[in-house]
Subunit: 131 residues, 2 copies
């Protein structure tokens, strides 16, 4: 596991979006845009059960993450790593925390009945940063 | 090949950044941030010979692209497709055209001696858009 530099921590703590790549069943890449957070050096992403990325990561935990600054997209970090945990525990509180950070709202507005939120815990293995 | 909607064309024509995912030799994903352009419905990305993404795409032409609006990152397009051409012809003129679009400069400032620019021609096979 690679530690995050202070600048990468600051990037993740900021209101910056991440683009995450996962592997489809046929081995091809898929990429989506997500909110991002961390717990120390562990990167956190919140998704819902059954989403393409969640199904992909259950099959193959390898993930790549591109995070650029909202106000300067030449500045950012590009991370390769793997999912080391997928948990429903605390996932609703976590999506509300992310909603607060990104939208200012106290609760996540996109929540739909019956969806089961999942927190992905990710360890970085290789980081390129330009910050 | 899937055609691009008018809104996706407009997104690509705008000064918006793309995050592209390719497949490493070991089957894991890699993602980088790039400038993007198009020729009709064919998506164009400019890279240099020997870069990780270029080597990855020579081995496996499958690619995924995430493009969000610079001023509203909830709005964007997520594309899966494949590289159908990699050519050095016109690639220097093309990187200068991209530099003009993104930086306003007449010539690409990041050019280094001996680097061989390459234009990737990409056909979309699946598009999710929120525009």
């Amino acid at each position: 596991m690679v530690q995050l530099s202070d600048k990468v921590r600051e990037l993740i703590d900021g209101k910056n979006f991440a683009h995450i790549a996962t592997i489809m069943k046929d081995g091809s890449p898929q990429v989506t845009t997500v909110w991002i957070d961390r717990d120390g050096d562990t990167i956190l992403i919140n998704t819902a059960e059954g989403r393409v990325k969640e199904r992909n990561l259950k099959r193959d935990p390898r993930i790549a993450i591109s995070i650029t600054k909202g106000d300067n997209q030449y500045s950012g970090a590009w991370i390769r790593g793997k999912v080391v945990g997928m948990t429903a525990e605390g996932a609703v509180e976590h999506i509300n925390k992310l909603a607060k950070k990104y939208t200012g709202a106290d609760k996540y507005q996109g929540y739909t009945p019956n969806e089961k939120r999942i927190v992905l815990r990710i360890e970085a293995q290789h980081i390129t940063e330009r910050l």
